[in-house]
């Protein structure tokens, strides 16, 4: 008798709980035919909002509408490589002008800050700044910066003096922030798996949802190894097994043992609430979290065949050999 009562209550409770878990959050009606939340579509993470809170906004996590408009205009001007005057950011004849490289039409940095008018993409720590680096992390950051600057000297020995970016292997390790262009993604879902096609470098992230373990530690990948599961309407993706085989394979000054946890939650027809948390105690003294929304992109994803057309690296190497030749001829 008591057993039968337990059965019925248990059944009803589990049923109610499961129903509640399945009921969409307010306003959300995006579900795949097989019942998973639907994140599919073409998305962009382009934004003007910087990773870290600028000094002028210390203590000010969000702006008023008026402040936001004023700041947006300043950020757009700062990105406008067409403004080339003696007192602009891009004065002809300066290193900054050379590295700006093109007219603004070739770039796609975005026109807006994030919709909630935050002053940084970093939301944890609360000061909007990346946590302090460990001594090893700080040293790695300096080394990476110096290696980048050496590329500008035009005296490379070989392609290995260039980053994975210049070599067209990958263009920035995960997680991806808003960059100069190609900030576009196509999410395609099928039962048991989420795929994210990244326009930058035509890379595909394949995220199984079946609870399988990660790859063995000896197998490392440029985009790591991702495993996903649903927590209510949120896709939670854990990525490990990164590689440090070349400069530029990792995110900022991270090590290959970094653990990345991303959360994707559909927030209406035209937005995904995207946030990530990085844990890499060898690099940062604490975990840190970024919120960077993905907005609906009305355009299409285009192929970015980088290595196949990489005249830039060829030219950089021939420039280095030409410099060697010139130097050799200077010496009697």
């Amino acid at each position: 008798m008591r057993w039968r009562y337990l059965d019925l209550t248990g059944f009803l409770t589990v049923g109610v709980v499961c129903l509640l878990a399945a009921v969409p959050v307010e306003g959300q009606v995006f579900t795949t035919p097989w019942g998973d939340p639907d994140l599919q579509g073409t998305w962009t993470n382009r934004t003007l909002t910087p990773l870290e809170r600028p000094a002028e906004f210390e203590g000010k996590p969000t702006l008023t509408e008026a402040e936001a408009l004023e700041w947006e205009a300043r950020l757009r001007d700062g990105n406008n490589t067409d403004i080339r005057t003696a007192d602009s950011d891009y004065t002809p004849g300066t290193l900054r002008d050379v590295t700006a490289a093109y007219n603004t039409i070739w770039y796609d940095r975005g026109e807006r800050i994030v919709a909630d008018r935050r002053t940084s993409l970093v939301i944890n720590p609360a000061d909007g700044k990346v946590p302090e680096l460990t001594p090893a992390g700080a040293a790695r950051k300096v080394d990476l910066r110096e290696a980048d600057l050496r590329e500008d000297l035009g005296r490379a020995d070989s392609w290995e003096d260039f980053s994975a970016y210049v070599r067209c292997i990958i263009r920035s390790g995960l997680p991806r922030l808003s960059t100069g262009y190609n900030n576009n993604y196509e999410i395609v879902q099928t039962p048991g798996l989420v795929a994210i096609y990244q326009e930058q470098m035509h890379d595909i992230r394949l995220i199984p949802l079946d609870g399988r373990p990660h790859l063995p530690g000896a197998v490392r990948q440029w985009l790591g190894d991702s495993r996903g599961h649903w927590e209510g309407d949120t896709l939670v993706v854990e990525t490990t097994n990164f590689t440090d085989q070349a400069r530029g394979s990792l995110f900022l000054e991270a090590t290959k043992d970094m653990v990345l946890v991303e959360r994707f939650t559909r927030a209406g027809a035209d937005m995904i609430d995207y946030r990530f948390t990085i844990t890499d105690p060898a690099t940062w003294t604490s975990s840190w979290t970024v919120a960077l929304p993905w907005n609906r992109e009305p355009g299409l994803i285009y192929e970015y065949a980088c290595h196949e057309g990489n005249h830039g690296l060829m030219n950089s190497l021939s420039a280095a050999r030409a410099a060697d030749e010139a130097e050799a001829q200077e010496q009697p």
Partner: protein
């Protein structure tokens, strides 16, 4: 020598975009900051390729001879999303190039600023609103 340039770069330290170090393209290693160049030429071919488009122009010299130059642009992908196509820069268009010459001595330059003879930027903002 290049070590002096290295010192200058180390002191100044600033590279254009507010992007992480891993997103650096070594333009200054390919094109010479000390060799700014202005060219006017007629478009003969456009390679709509990645990572950089290449606009080939014929530049008529004062003595009447013609030099062929290759001008480096950015990624066509940004243009396509703005509604441009491979027909948006037509053969025969006269363009002005304000850029930096290739370090290796070949007839290449980066198209830092591309304009039409009337001063308007090549490929003004396109049909699709941002």
């Amino acid at each position: 020598m290049y070590s002096k340039l290295a010192m200058v770069i180390a002191v100044c330290g600033l590279v254009a975009a507010p992007a992480p170090a891993s997103a650096h393209h070594s333009f200054a290693g390919e094109f010479d900051i000390n060799k700014p160049i202005q060219l006017q030429g007629t478009v003969t071919k456009v390679e709509w390729i990645n990572p950089h488009a290449w606009i080939h122009i014929d530049v008529t010299q004062p003595d009447g001879s013609v030099e062929s130059w290759a001008i480096e642009g950015g990624t066509p992908n940004s243009l396509f999303r703005r509604g441009f196509t491979r027909d948006s820069v037509k053969i025969g268009t006269v363009i002005n190039v304000d850029g930096y010459e290739s370090r290796d001595g070949s007839r290449k330059a980066n198209g830092r600023d591309l304009t039409l003879p009337d001063g308007t930027k090549l490929l003004m903002a396109g049909s699709r609103p941002n």
